[in-house]
């Protein structure tokens, strides 16, 4: 069975300002990041849909110890965002000085953009990733 929405297509769309997901014809739920099957019911009858790029921060952390090759990025904020359509996605919150991050960030509304992680010796080249800005 052919993969409906690959990482490459998802990431390419992100760099063009589109956040894609999969809408399940069985249960109606949205899955993103994309997978072979619906995250809710396991169904395979899925349509590619464009999402609103809006959501709320559910949790976050300020990373001070970065992986090898990325030390110059620290400190940076990673957040999990619950999209208006339901799924959660992970990305970086870029709108605030990491020193000012606190529990108050939780529930803040954000919009979604992108940046490209250029990859490292273990990664397969450029990887577009979501970033979050306050709505």
């Amino acid at each position: 069975m052919e993969y409906k929405l690959t990482f490459k297509d998802y990431a390419n769309a992100l760099t063009k300002g589109k956040l894609l997901g999969l809408k399940c014809k069985g249960c109606g739920n949205i899955t993103t990041p994309p997978k072979m099957t619906c995250q809710e019911c396991g169904g395979t009858d899925l349509d590619i849909v464009e999402l609103s790029k809006r959501g709320k921060i559910v949790t976050f952390t300020v990373v001070n110890v970065a992986p090898e090759g990325r030390q110059n990025e620290a400190p940076y904020i990673i957040a999990l965002v619950k999209l208006d359509e339901g799924p959660w996605i992970m990305g970086n919150l870029i709108d605030i000085d990491p020193a000012r991050a606190s529990m108050d960030l939780i529930d803040k509304e954000v919009t979604i953009g992108f940046r490209v992680f250029p990859g490292d010796q273990f990664s397969p080249g450029d990887q577009a990733r979501p970033v979050f800005s306050f709505a």
Binding site: V63, V65, G69, F122
Partner: protein, 390 residues
Amino acid sequence: MRKVAVVGTGHTPFTFATEKTSIELFSEAAMDAMNEANLKPKDIQALYLGNCLGDFSEGQAMLQSYAANDIGAFHIPATRFEGACASSALAIRDAFIWVASGYYDVVLAGGVERAASMGTPLATRTFSMFTDSHYEYPAGLTFPAIFAMLAHLYAKRYGIALEKLKEQMALVSVQSHYYGMSNPKAQFRKEITVEDVLNGFMVSSPLQLLDCCPFSDGAAAVVLVSEEKAKQITDKPVYITGIGQASSGKLSAQKDYLPRIRAREESAREAYDMAGIGPSDIDVCELHDCFSIASLIAAESLGLFEYGKAGAAWEKGETKIGGRIPINVSGGLKAKGHPIGATGASQVTEIYHQLRGECGERQVEGAKSGLTDTLGGDGVLCTLIMQRGW
């Protein structure tokens, strides 16, 4: 299905960077396990070896085959298990299944890692491989960052002020260091205070240095045999009476269930059901405290405390020897150390000696049933229940 017993264990010291190779470390633990069981390498029918990062730490893949040869168990089938920090727990679970099925009578299972030898930057990068490489790692996700996000989520979900939660988390590390003092194999044998934890370097907010387990080198191994064989070897066999294993999707795919990890609840239920006992029957528990907050999350999902209440249990001393359910009296991953591929086997080794009454100062008197909980990455879970066979 046949009954399966643990009849021997081996455990190297868990340490900062060592000069021994992974195969040398594993062979030391393996020979000790065979000696404890009064078995010879020729008695071993298969080797199941947990190892995650040999490829990166010393350019060594396929070490299971060389390890079997190294210990003189020539030409036996040897298989590597990779389930991040749960690798050797998975190896032991599979060894159980193969002995229980009747296919083998004697299997050696265990694990080894040289995470400390890698140094913090490379270890941090390779531990990040236990996350989704395409959809989550590009954000700079690290292992502490996962549990840091779960800590903030935990505080929010259960309505606990972050400052209060951090004190409770600090007490988890303080207790582990206290018990690490009486474990000669532990990496840290030094008491710490709540203030030490709260004054530590911020690794990934809100986790400070002493909320995090260390990078460690070390190995552990156990011998599993059939009931018939066990009776020939010892009058104090420790039977594995319940096993569970479960998997998860990437962290974001676990969404609203977080900070609970559903796979742990599935795995634990499977193990309890198989053993025919419940959380209140467990006398001693070794759980996966890779971070202080991880202990609270694990203890709740194992059914030992109510959701949102585990921190209070540590505060009240319910997790100490003499308390309701002694947890991580080995020192846990925090003080004993966490050579990831070896951790599951190390936990089983502790429970084995606890049930046999061989733990000296840190002995939980009269322990008859014990449980290990091992977590790999953000969602490989393995639960093993062991009970006295006499």
